[in-house]
Symmetry: none
Subunit: 408 residues, 2 copies
Amino acid sequence: MRIECIAIGSELLSTGRLDTNSVWITERLGRLGLSIHRKTAIGDDPEDLRTLFREAIHRSELVICTGGLGPTFDDLTKETWAEVFGAELVEDAQIREDILAFYAARERVPPESNFKQALVPVGASILRNPFGTAPAICWDSPRGYPGRRIILLPGVPLEMKQIWEGQVEALLAPHAKAAVHSLRMVVGSVPESALDERTRPMREQHGDLEWTILAGVSHVELVARGADLARLDAARKDFEQELGQDLVCVGEGSIESTVLGLLQARGETLGVAESVTGGFISTKLVSVPGASRALLGDAITYSAGAKTQLAGVPEELLLVHGTVSDATTRAMAEGIRAHLGATWGLATTGNAGPSEDGRGPGPVGTIHIALAGPDGTYSIRYSFPGFRSDIQSRAAAWALDFLRRRLI
Amino acid sequence: MRIECIAIGSELLSTGRLDTNSVWITERLGRLGLSIHRKTAIGDDPEDLRTLFREAIHRSELVICTGGLGPTFDDLTKETWAEVFGAELVEDAQIREDILAFYAARERVPPESNFKQALVPVGASILRNPFGTAPAICWDSPRGYPGRRIILLPGVPLEMKQIWEGQVEALLAPHAKAAVHSLRMVVGSVPESALDERTRPMREQHGDLEWTILAGVSHVELVARGADLARLDAARKDFEQELGQDLVCVGEGSIESTVLGLLQARGETLGVAESVTGGFISTKLVSVPGASRALLGDAITYSAGAKTQLAGVPEELLLVHGTVSDATTRAMAEGIRAHLGATWGLATTGNAGPSEDGRGPGPVGTIHIALAGPDGTYSIRYSFPGFRSDIQSRAAAWALDFLRRRLI
């Protein structure tokens, strides 16, 4: 079944909003073994809507729209589909009652414009909305398009999700297919192009699977899709051998969840001292529930004084080596480890640019990472391209991966 | 000029990724008075790409594509457009040299696959990529489509933005129109529905402007658009009066940049101690260049030990009041202020849920915020709905806004 998603609303073409509904819908379709082949965001212009709807019903068997079902003048989804199919709109008594009840429960009277939401195209069915006044619509085999289906959902995520779970899922169940399984492998501290080159022969060996490489700031993902679990499992084994230590985890998970899992399994703890990464290491770790079991604390030492006060770096050392240096980073890692009594101390310094006066400690992109542990202190230096937040986020990920490699 | 954006990559149709490039491009087009009428996300399937490209060049005068220019087998944007226009791809000597230089600077040799990026369709021009190996492409009046233009940009946001600012903007300048101006007002610590209700009469008074309310986790934005600067200015004055202290800033800016600006103007400094927000306050602040002038340091105290070690909370107090409490939060704020010698000490504790055993300190969503300053210590308690990361991010923003209200 060819499925496409359309998100409707001029705000989706402005700078403020992203269509997140389609991401949620994609995930739910995936559970039924269904996938979408295209998604579109479009404004409230009637002519643009008409053109898109005609294209969509032509190329897709199921068209799922979100948005444009509200009470205001620029909510045109239902009206435009009715026009495309030459169908009349008729008020539904049940929906009128629902709207009245919704307002009565809030001790208010609905504005007359709200009853626009009680209009339903002849031939379409209603999916009632337990959380709002805009009902959803399911329209099977509209005039001229036998076997096609359109589903119109409210744009408010909460309402959309409720209607999907309570009603849409049951409508789609008969179309559910043997799910396509996927194998996701997270790779740390390796650039995308190097990973592509290195894994090409093995991906060709497993050419019966569909492969994707996703490059992020923190890590690279290698994803395989296929219907046969045994074939995916064989690929997993080959890649585990090929990637070795560079493979962070398979399945859900990330560098941070892997590091926390390893620490917990070993009964070990972590203290962090961040300068250039300014809290990025910590926020990555605390995004994982239960992080507090291994992460004792993190000293974000933006000033030289804080490096001394919170991470115990001797003032003389700062004077001799400067705030961005291998020696200072190592002293921070050792200091925070001792200060918190942690098994491991992880630290970063560097220059993520830009300072307002164009000056700064060392070239922009320089990153020092140090790790103090039971068997001594290790450090490494990188040079990352990019803007401030990319450099900070990548440095945090590569620092955590530096710890992960030491833990395995 | 009819403009559309196309984001290419199967990951954009999965659950992992959102197309954020088009939002940035929309904002930049807006500065030139240009807007898009549609955006589409599509996978790497060659047949789907061919169909979409043919539709797009038919309906739009300018088609801006992002993604699919990388070195891997599933990067097909350039190849598919060349096929649509029946153009040959030829290797460009300059780009081959750029790729060699890019790798040489990193003391590496490019994999042979990288030179796929040096192929350019005959008739198209190159926009060189200072941060990566995939050049962008501008193709004017391709065969069969006189007066039309396509611009192909890398999907990596950093590279896309650099090429846009350095080269694309100049190409589009001749098409710039009288810009529609916008007035953006950032409101802190007020829920969206309350702001909607409260500002409705004044928005109706200024009904000649186009109004939008954008609710985020950190703040709510009230945006007005119009061609007449004097009308926008009149609205700004009325809303400044109406919103009072709740108005964080007008124009660019955020709670964090406003707080840092106020601190710098007053020559004051800040120390932070975060528990429940786990680094979110710090990463918000350090996203602003120059943050180090006011932010001395941040102690992320996930464990009770770190609350004592890094933020100087007496052990007895923790035993009596618990880690999530008003008293502990106040002690953290006072402790970090004294420890770093800062003008202000800001602290958070709370429970963002879920702990793996379903238990936790206090109900999920409970947040304590405390601020210690020259004239004493103030604290407040909130209860936020939502999931873990929303609660953490909102708590960080409302804590910074608590400080902002004290500074004005």
